[in-house]
């Protein structure tokens, strides 16, 4: 069997609600799926010393991120009984209120889908070489820190 090829997860700008709807809709032909779990990261307009975050500008070390994502994907597929797994992460500017991360897992039963989605989100945040620059309304910025 040929190994799965690393898939691109990066999209330019925000993930739209209609893109999410299309992804969900595509799974209606998979009659072995009983549950989908979705996580969406949304850009918050945090206030820092009187300034407000208006957008996050994302960059990545793409080749490394895709290799790492491939490794995470294989590990999650090995650990949970999933039918599908999809991950999309924004690059470039994503305005406050827009979606920057879309993680989507499906399974015959709810528990693997939910557990896999949650673990994927944690691993993506901790292990993918992606950086967010929080751009303020006055054009200054600070580098985002994940907690």
């Amino acid at each position: 069997m040929e190994p799965r090829k690393p898939k691109n997860i990066f999209v330019k700008g925000a993930v739209s609600a209609s893109f999410i709807a299309e992804s969900i809709q595509k799974h209606s032909s998979r009659h072995d799926i009983g549950g989908h779990s979705i996580f969406l990261g949304q850009v918050r307009a945090d206030k820092v010393e009187g300034k407000t975050v208006s957008a996050i500008d994302y960059t990545t070390y793409e080749e490394m991120a895709l290799e790492k994502m491939h490794e995470i994907r294989e590990a999650i597929f090995a650990k949970y009984e999933l039918t599908c797994m999809h991950v999309y992460h924004s690059l470039g500017k994503v305005a406050a209120g827009e979606i920057c991360l879309f993680v989507f897992t499906s399974s015959a039963h709810r528990k693997p889908a939910i557990a896999a989605c949650s673990e994927l989100v944690e691993r993506i945040k901790a292990e993918l070489p992606v950086w967010g620059k929080e751009v303020f309304d006055n054009e200054t910025y600070q580098w985002k820190e994940n907690k």
Binding site: T60, W143, N146
Partner: protein
């Protein structure tokens, strides 16, 4: 001699400190030596936690560098 210099790619807030997304830096034998020389040239790096990726893998402990190793400097990740 240029063959003893290496391109290093730089990400995130490290680009603010180093002032570029890519630098040409004298080749050294391992990642500890590289880290020391980088801090000597860019003292602000000492205040920041960052890791060195060698051929797209994070160097765990001191890692020997080959002349053809792909080197990248990665500050803490903040995706999602």
């Amino acid at each position: 001699m240029s063959s003893f210099k290496k391109n290093i790619i730089v990400f995130g807030q490290l680009t603010d400190i180093i002032g570029a997304a890519e630098i040409n830096f004298p080749a050294v034998g391992d990642t500890d030596a590289l880290k020391n020389q980088l801090i000597a040239k860019y003292p602000q790096l000492a205040e920041l936690s960052f890791v060195i990726a060698v051929d797209k893998k994070i160097a765990a402990g001191n890692t020997p560098l080959q002349l053809d190793s792909g080197i990248a400097l990665l500050p803490p990740f903040s995706g999602g």
